[in-house]
C-alpha cells in the first residue's frame, strides 16, 4: 500500500465542506471532499487517507457508519478519524469514541482549532 498523503472530508453541508477543504488546503494538506457517506467510504477503501474528517449526521451512510466500516476493514482500520457533529452531549461523544473515533469536533467549530487537532492527530 502506497503511503497516503491526503485527508478525506465528508459532509453533506456544502458550506462546511468548502470551509474545511479550504482551511486544510491553506494549511498545506491535500484534501479530497465528498458530500455523502457512501462515496466517502468507497474512496476510503480505494485510497485510504492519512486522516478522515467525517460529519456524523449525513443522509445514507452516516459518519458513524463509515467509521464502523473503517474499523472493521484491515486497510482502513488504522486511519485516524475525527468526527464532526452538532451533538455534544456526553452519551453521543461516548458513542463516537466507542466506535473508534480518534477525536471529536463540535459544530459550530473554530477552523483554527480544527487544524490544530488535525495536526495533533497526525503528529502522533
Amino acid at each position: 500500500m502506497t503511503g497516503s498523503s491526503h485527508i478525506l472530508v465528508a459532509d453533506d453541508d456544502a458550506d462546511i465542506r468548502d470551509l474545511v477543504t479550504f482551511k486544510l488546503t491553506q494549511s498545506g494538506y491535500t484534501v479530497e471532499a465528498y458530500s455523502d457517506g457512501a462515496s466517502a467510504w468507497a474512496a476510503m477503501t480505494e485510497r485510504p487517507p492519512r486522516l478522515a474528517l467525517l460529519d456524523v449526521m449525513m443522509p445514507g451512510l452516516s459518519g458513524l457508519d463509515v467509521l464502523r466500516k473503517a474499523r472493521e476493514s484491515a486497510a482502513t482500520t488504522n486511519v485516524p478519524v475525527i468526527l464532526l457533529t452538532a451533538r455534544s452531549r456526553d452519551v453521543d461523544v461516548e458513542d463516537g469514541f466507542a466506535c473508534g473515533a480518534t477525536d471529536y469536533v463540535i459544530k459550530p467549530f473554530s477552523p483554527r482549532e480544527l487544524v490544530h487537532r488535525v495536526a495533533a492527530v497526525l503528529g502522533r
Binding site: D15, I16, L19, F22, R68, A98, F109, S110, P111
Partner: protein, 365 residues
C-alpha cells in the same frame, strides 16, 4: 332550467381565464426562481473564496475582508445569504469577522431597528441575525422580546440570547418559560426545550439562576431548571434539586430530577430514590428511579434493585436488570445470584447479561 347556457358560457370563460392565469403564474414563479438562483450562484461563485478566507480565519491581513466590505448593493444582496450561512457554522475569530462584515453594511443597525417592527416576522428575523452575530448591544432588547406577543419572536429571542451567552439574562429566560399571563393555560411562554437549550448555551454562568428556579411556583420553570441542571451537570443545583423532588407534583419533572440525582448524587440519595420503587408508583417513575440508582452504583443501590428482577411489571424488571449490568462487579454478582434461582428473575437476568455481552463484544479493539 336554472342554469342557462349563457351562464355556463360565462363560467367557462372565467375558468379558462383563471386556468391561463395560474399556468402563467406557475411558470413565471419558476422562471424567476431559476434566474435568482443563477444570479446568486454567479455572484457567490466569484467571491466565494473571499468569504471562505474570512470564515476559515485565513484572512490575517484582512485583505479579503476589506474587499468584501466594498461590494455594491446588488452584490452584497447576493453575498449576504452565504455570509449568514457560514456565520451560523463557525465560532471564534472567524465568526467575529463575519459579524463585523454584517455590521459594516449596516445590517446590525437595521436589525436592531427592526426589533421594534410591527410585523412579527421582521422582529423574528432581526433577532435571528443579531443572535448569529453575537450582538451584545442587543442583549437587553432581546431579553425584552422574551415577553413578545408572538410565540415565534419569543422563540428566536431565546435562541439568540443562548448564543450571546450572557449569564445576566438567565433569570429572564427562566421567567419567560413560565405560564405567562394572557396566554392560554398549559401554554408556557417558551417551549421548555428552547429555554433549556438557551440556558445550556449560556453555560455555567447560569447555574445560580437555575438553582434558584427550583423553588419557583410555576411548574414549567421548575421543569426547565431540572432539564438544564440535568444536561448541564451543574453541581450547585444538587441541593435545591434534592428538596424539589420531595414536593414536585409533575411526573416529567420528577423524572428529570431523578436523572439529575443519578448523575450527580451519591449514597445519601439512595433512600429517596428507593422510595419510588414501590409497586404503586407509576411505572415511568419507577424506571427513572431504577436508572438513577444504577447510575449511583453503591452496594446499597444495587441491593435495592435486585428484588425488582421479580417484579410483576416486566418493564420494571428489565430496567432493573439493565441497571445492574452497568454496575460492574457488584451488579454482576447479583445477576449471577438471580441466574442461580428460578422463575422470572432468572430469565430477566439472563437476557440482560446476554445483551451486555453483545455490547462488550461489539466494541472494536
Amino acid at each position: 332550467m336554472i342554469s342557462s347556457t349563457g351562464l355556463l358560457v360565462a363560467s367557462l370563460t372565467a375558468l379558462a381565464a383563471v386556468a391561463v392565469l395560474l399556468v402563467a403564474l406557475t411558470v413565471q414563479a419558476r422562471a424567476l426562481r431559476r434566474r435568482r438562483e443563477r444570479a446568486l450562484a454567479s455572484v457567490q461563485g466569484r467571491r466565494r473564496h473571499l468569504v471562505l478566507e474570512v470564515a476559515s480565519g485565513e484572512d490575517e491581513d484582512r485583505a479579503a475582508w476589506r474587499e468584501l466590505a466594498e461590494l455594491s448593493r446588488r452584490e452584497w444582496r447576493g453575498m449576504r445569504p452565504a455570509v449568514i450561512g457560514l456565520l451560523a457554522k463557525v465560532r471564534g475569530r472567524p465568526a467575529t469577522e463575519l459579524g463585523a462584515l454584517l455590521s459594516a453594511y449596516g445590517e446590525l443597525d437595521a436589525a436592531r431597528a427592526r426589533l421594534n417592527s410591527r410585523w412579527a416576522g421582521r422582529r423574528a428575523r432581526a433577532a435571528y441575525l443579531l443572535g448569529l452575530a453575537r450582538d451584545v448591544r442587543s442583549r437587553d432588547h432581546l431579553a425584552a422580546l422574551l415577553t413578545d406577543r408572538s410565540g415565534d419572536v419569543r422563540f428566536v429571542a431565546a435562541r439568540a440570547l443562548g448564543q450571546l451567552g450572557d449569564p445576566a439574562v438567565a433569570p429572564a429566560l427562566l421567567a419567560a418559560s413560565a405560564q405567562l399571563p394572557g396566554l392560554r393555560p398549559g401554554h408556557p411562554g417558551l417551549p421548555a426545550w428552547v429555554a433549556a437549550e438557551a440556558l445550556l448555551g449560556i453555560g455555567a454562568g447560569a447555574q445560580d439562576a437555575v438553582a434558584e428556579a427550583f423553588g419557583s411556583k410555576d411548574a414549567h420553570v421548575r421543569a426547565v431548571a431540572a432539564q438544564v441542571a440535568r444536561f448541564g451537570s451543574y453541581p450547585v443545583s444538587l441541593t435545591p434539586a434534592r428538596v424539589c423532588i420531595l414536593f414536585e407534583p409533575e411526573i416529567g419533572t420528577k423524572e428529570t430530577l431523578m436523572g439529575l440525582l443519578g448523575a450527580l448524587g451519591d449514597a445519601s440519595d439512595v433512600p429517596v430514590l428507593a422510595a419510588y420503587l414501590h409497586p404503586l408508583v407509576p411505572a415511568r417513575l419507577r424506571r427513572a428511579a431504577i436508572a438513577a440508582l444504577g447510575a449511583i452504583g453503591t452496594p446499597e443501590a444495587a441491593g435495592r434493585l435486585a428484588p425488582l428482577l421479580d417484579d410483576d411489571d416486566r418493564s420494571v424488571a428489565t430496567a432493573a436488570g439493565q441497571a445492574l449490568t452497568a454496575m460492574g462487579v457488584r451488579g454482576q454478582d447479583l445477576l449471577d445470584a438471580a441466574m442461580a434461582g428460578a422463575g422470572a428473575a432468572r430469565r430477566v437476568a439472563a437476557a440482560c447479561l446476554h445483551l451486555a455481552r453483545l455490547r462488550a463484544e461489539g466494541v472494536p479493539a
